[in-house]
Chain length 368, copies 2
């Protein structure tokens, strides 16, 4: 509590998102429900997350009549969360801020005018917003979306950032016919794994490219068990006739790139006349390069996708229906990926793993 | 005539487009109109145009009832004509073939069932087709489009390949609002000059990039006299704040690239959030490169345009209306560019100039 008082001195109340609001006399007149004390991962300046974040105690917040107090259950550490803290993301959250962007919680208390949520409901912020790395969040009813409870909490916690990206990548760029194919690099990423499974559900075939590494045969089998039609390592694709590798799979009309450099060029090579490649990540930190003749004579198009921008459009309701669709697939076992739950108390460990300081780990999901 | 007989031996009649058809008994029964003897620039194999082309005499052709015999007046030597002869164009015309793809001619004779064209009309092949480098062409009425006669013949001869490309580039990719801007490199090309003038007609402002060279100030003035709002040499753009150079011109939503490499990157830098760059040429023979963040966060899209593919769509009629629109602008002095008329007899000289063997020359247009 002592820390918080100090911290609050430097934080104008307007800068807080998901932070306790300071009760005013007016609000007191309408409500007397208080949120429990809470811990939160806060950063007061941008920088390396292991340097600038710390866990602070937040004092109770008084609920306004339309507010809902949510006890967080789980929230992931996504790469974009790290970029936001570093300040390298195009949207620079005003500091001080609470970390985290998506997650799931349970309704703990409701204001007197809340009609559509009840204590015990599972909810996610939708569209997602800053500040899910804390025990209790008080926000207006309208920002919360009630979700089904018959999926593991880590799936509800992670349904937006990665699976929804995969769904939009498949939906927003071309119109598929049955039996059409897509090609992607970075197929082992969670977005990549979701693309494989969502394509399968829609009857779309997938051509998947992975890095050469020890154990790539096991990775291939794993992706095939998810529904991948074919999986190639990059070195397998250093041939002249890529078509010859496809057997009965048609040349894809749509490709996805989350790597850049040569790995993007391979995706382009697979595409058929008039195809589109969508870039949604750049793991290799190399640009995308394409020849003039591919633009003119092969009529290929290059596009980009960013979920956060997409959600700024007037698609909030549509977005919630998609979330429900994805959670239904998760419940039915048709959409899965690996995660590692870590108690919130061990945030530092989870963060070090997410930062890659401790070797390779599955996605880290904080459990509150 | 001796040559032609020899040549014909190696050319199956089905391979000829715009070549004299060998009269058959059936056709004789319907018509007795013959085309005059003609000279044509023919190539029997792909290769360097100054090596593989020669002028041959073609014997008269008997007109079928729907045929029109056109006496060619003028036809340009376009870079794509050279590429077709070289065999490096994606559409490889079957050889032997007559060179040339667009041009204008005067109706010389008509078959008995021709209804909409009369002797003396000016016509262009629309959509264009192979074989305009010859004195007389006999083709069905339907392939010819009657054009106005109050423009210089060299404009009617060149209206399709370059000006129509410029028009489609401005029409097919984004929806403009009044006062919007476009940016282009290679602004001195004929397509570039037409973009400047067509943008002006539509109230769209143009940002133009030219190479650094001796006399670039004169080039700037020339482009400004056509309607260019601003003209920069590439070296002028090696600054951090491109916006600062634009004064009151808004950041462009659409860019055109006919160069590649760094010159394409500069176009991308000018574009505003959500903008599109269309590649329609690659004079520098270097690919286009774009960063991951430009795809994701700046939401830039890269596309290509090829007129020949566009004309393969069901737009032939629409295309003729556009040609008429462009010719109207030419008549009114709102669309102009430099050309050099060369007598057909001096085809070799015109070709050498078009191949760049004799320094810099305006577009070469054969005058028959």
């Amino acid at each position: 509590m002592g820390f918080l008082r100090t911290a609050l001195k430097v934080m104008p109340p307007s800068a807080f998102r998901g932070f306790p609001r300071i009760p005013t006399a007016k609000i007191r007149a309408f409500s007397s429900v208080l949120s429990p004390p809470s811990k939160a991962v806060v950063y007061e300046q941008h920088g390396s997350p292991d340097q600038v974040t710390r866990v602070v105690n937040l004092s109770p917040v008084e609920l306004k009549e339309r507010d809902v107090c949510v006890k967080m259950l789980a929230a992931p550490i996504n790469p974009s969360d790290i970029n936001r803290i570093e300040g390298v993301y195009p949207v620079r959250p005003p500091v001080p801020a609470v970390g985290g962007y998506e997650g799931v919680g349970e309704v703990y208390a409701v204001g007197s005018a809340v009609r559509n949520l009840s204590i015990g409901d599972w909810v996610i912020p939708s569209p997602p917003s800053f500040g899910t790395w804390q025990n209790y969040i008080v926000k207006e009813e309208s920002v919360w979306h009630k979700v089904i409870k018959d999926v593991p909490m880590e799936y509800a916690a992670t349904v937006t950032v990665n699976p929804l990206t995969s769904l939009r990548l498949l939906e927003d760029f071309v119109k598929f016919n049955p039996g059409d194919a897509v090609v992607q690099n970075g197929a082992t990423s969670i977005v990549g794994q979701c693309i494989i499974q969502l394509a399968k559900v829609q009857g779309i075939r997938s051509i998947n490219i992975i890095r050469d590494r020890v154990g790539s045969e096991d990775v291939k089998e794993k992706l095939k068990s998810l529904g991948a039609d074919v999986v190639f390592t990059e070195s397998q694709l250093q041939v002249k006739n890529l078509k010859g590798l496809l057997d009965d799979i048609p040349e894809p009309l749509l490709g996805f790139n989350c790597v850049g450099g040569d790995a993007a060029s391979v995706v382009l090579k697979f595409l058929r006349q008039g195809g589109t490649m969508v870039t949604y990540g750049g793991m290799a930190k190399k640009p995308v390069t394409m020849s003039t003749s591919s633009f003119i004579f092969k009529d290929l198009a290059l596009r980009g996708f960013w979920l956060q921008k997409w959600m700024r459009t007037d698609k909030a309701q549509e977005c919630r229906a998609m979330i429900d669709f994805l959670l239904g697939l998760m419940r039915d076992g048709k959409l899965k990926y690996e995660m590692q739950l870590v108690p919130f108390e061990e945030f530092g460990l989870a963060l070090d793993r997410a930062l890659g300081k401790l070797g390779s780990h599955p996605k880290q999901v904080l459990k509150f």
